[in-house]
């Protein structure tokens, strides 16, 4: 069929034929090939559309599981009843005082923090990958988290000297972390991109350098630290959402929520900048402003996460990758789904970290690294970069 279309005829004498036959645009669409493609395309679209609802359902399941599992068991119905009682509705499910306080003061803040941190890290990973045009970017790997961790350590140790009392510390830490994360991101961005093209090796090496510097700095801080401070630094540095309390939620969660929403709103522009900066400019994007905004919001999201949960690695690497494999690269789906899957992953890792060595608790950063590091190696082997 294609052989008989006017294009083929026209092509045999390209020199003679200067004008393009206007009619040809009407000729092609009715071929069988196109119909088959539209079926394939609608299948792909269906998986795209189905992904978000599936993730939402999974997320609810993990949230209830996360609340239920622990030294004190709380069933989903009981947790509903406790929540309902809080807003003045009595449901016919019995629960104890102890269950109520465990839910309200331990499990719930922990779940909320897990949701926020997971979403922040996964979305930041996806956004950084688009900015660097490099699927191996991750807030932990390229040193954003490291930079944030360093400033947090400095604050923990020297905060008392400059008279930062424990009352203000939870409010101050996220901003200190933000500052560290921002500095690291700008540094890596400047280093890792040479004239319009992103350079994988330079970016990863810059990340190594920043991380090495951060580790050294944190080591130095440990040297100066008192015993209590040292414990704080060490545990927090391994990553955990166990320190969640309503106090540190009130600062970190709004900051994370705000920056994640701002990043999600830039999804379409992130699609454009995936083509490269010059191309994005040709397509009408103010790339300088977009880059500044992205770096700012990523540093804010990662900084706030690191301040409350320490350095949890690899989430930003794994989540966007899995999603690109299933639903493609369009950031309008990718970012939204990354937020959901990131939250699911963190809560799952948290459940594991609480149950594997119960009653002791593994730091969650160890769990994500145990899964993430082999994943990273697999990626390197597969991509052959």
């Amino acid at each position: 069929m294609r052989e008989n279309s006017p294009i083929r005829l026209e092509r045999k004498h390209p020199c003679l034929q200067v004008r393009i036959d206007e009619a040809r645009t009407e000729m092609i669409p009715n071929t069988l090939k196109k119909q088959r493609i539209s079926v394939l395309a609608s299948l792909a679209r269906a998986s795209k559309d189905a992904c978000t609802p599936i993730l939402v359902i999974l997320l609810f399941a993990v949230v209830f599981l996360s609340i239920a599992i622990g030294a004190v068991e709380i069933s989903p119905l009981q947790s509903l009843a406790i929540a309902a009682q809080k807003i003045g509705i009595a449901l016919p499910f019995n629960f104890t005082e102890q269950q109520q306080s465990v839910l309200l003061y331990i499990r719930l803040p922990r779940v909320i923090l897990g949701l926020a941190v997971g979403a922040a890290l996964a979305v930041s990973g996806a956004v950084l990958q688009s900015l660097f045009r490099n699927p191996l970017a991750d807030p932990g790997l390229i040193g954003v988290s490291g930079g944030a961790a360093l400033t947090v350590s400095i604050t923990i140790v020297f905060g008392e000297i400059i008279g930062l009392s424990n009352v203000f510390k939870p409010y101050f830490l996220p901003f200190a972390a933000f500052f560290g994360g921002l500095t690291a991101t700008i540094f890596i961005y400047r280093l890792g991109r040479s004239k319009n093209s992103s350079n994988v090796a330079t970016m990863l090496l810059a990340g190594i350098a920043v991380n090495a510097f951060a580790v050294a700095g944190i080591g130095l801080m440990s040297f100066f630290a008192t015993d209590t401070q040292l414990r704080n630094i060490t545990f927090w540095n391994l990553g955990s959402i166990g320190s969640a309390s309503w106090t540190n939620l009130t600062v970190a969660v709004p900051l994370i929520l705000f920056s994640v929403v701002m990043l999600l709103r830039r999804a379409r522009l992130l699609n454009v900048i995936s083509l490269g900066e010059a191309e994005a400019r040709h397509l009408g994007v103010n790339t300088e402003r977009l880059k500044r905004e992205i770096v700012f919001f990523v540093a804010l999201a990662v900084g706030a996460s690191v301040a409350v949960s320490g350095a949890i690695g690899f989430v930003g690497l794994i989540v966007p990758h899995l999603l690109r494999l299933t639903t493609g690269a369009d950031h309008r789906f990718l970012l939204r789904n990354s937020a959901l899957l990131g939250a699911i992953l963190i809560l799952t890792a948290d459940i594991l970290s609480r149950t594997v060595a119960a009653p002791a608790e593994l730091p969650i950063g160890i769990v994500t690294a145990l899964v993430g590091a082999p994943f990273f190696i697999w990626l390197l082997l597969r991509k052959n970069v």
Binding site: A44, R133, E279, H282, G284, G328
Partner: protein, 263 residues
């Protein structure tokens, strides 16, 4: 009209462009020809604001290029770069849809999708629409990028004039698609689009360009109608290569002289 007024571009101490002036009017195809390193791509990039000028100015419709905002300009001027790679699994259709960016507020409309389909059809890439872009061959990727660029200026803007900048658009294309690309450029130019195209194939330039601009060592050596510019002497001067100029359908046809073949 796009005008380069006495522009000079330097990288280090080396002058890549040396006091170059060139104008591109809506409705004409201008082909840039020259040896490697003559400054063709740099001149094209200067028109698009991608290169820092040492001196001189680019003017677009009587306003300095710097006074235009990106968004306003992107609605009437599209650029096909020489190297653009994409490391994420976008589909070909999604890539072409990115061309509609300057026209989209929020989400794309049915009209945008129609334009994308038509643009893909124009470059004969309809069958690639649902395929993953990084898995396509070099020539296929180039056609999809061309579709993206066409989708960007598919509709006439308020004052009618559009501009298309193509940097070696035929580099990895087969014979038929090389001609298709320039036929498309021709069709757009007939609808009041100014086209600047960097080419290496003198015959393609001879057949399709309204004006040919020969470049040498960062300067414009000759600028005018194909039949006037493409002489054996000029080609020898520019490329240091002996050719004979024949005539085919009233247009110059450039053939290498037999002595140039190693037998």
């Amino acid at each position: 009209m796009f005008e380069a007024k006495n522009i000079t571009v330097k990288i280090g101490a080396k002058k890549i462009l040396d006091d170059v002036s060139l104008e591109i009017k809506a409705g004409e195809i201008v082909a840039l020809l020259g040896a490697n390193g003559a400054g063709k791509s740099t001149l094209l990039k200067s028109f698009c604001g991608d290169v820092k000028l040492k001196s001189g100015e680019i003017r677009v419709e009587n306003r300095s290029l710097n006074e235009w905002n990106y968004h306003e300009l992107a609605r009437k001027r599209a650029v096909l770069s020489q190297h653009s790679n994409l490391s994420f699994p976008f589909t070909a259709q999604e890539v072409a849809l990115l061309g509609r960016n300057p026209h989209i507020r929020g989400t794309e409309s049915e009209r945008d999708l129609e334009i994308v389909r038509a643009a893909l059809e124009t470059v004969e890439a309809t069958h690639l629409a649902a395929q993953i872009f990084p898995t396509l061959s070099g020539g296929e990727q180039q056609r999809v990028h061309l579709a993206r660029v066409l989708a960007q200026i598919w509709e006439k803007p308020e004052n009618d004039a559009r501009y298309l900048f193509l940097d070696e658009p035929t580099a990895s294309l087969d014979l038929a698609h090389q001609h298709l690309t320039l036929q498309i450029a021709r069709r757009f130019s007939q609808e009041n689009t100014g086209v600047l195209v960097v080419l290496h194939d003198l015959n393609l330039a001879a057949q399709y360009a309204d004006r040919i601009c020969l470049m040498k060592h960062g300067k414009i050596y000759e600028n005018g109608k194909p039949s006037k510019v493409l002489t054996a002497t000029n080609v020898k001067k520019i490329f240091d290569f002996e050719v004979s100029i024949l005539e085919h359908n009233g247009l110059p046809l450039i053939a290498p002289q037999a002595a140039n073949y190693y037998k």
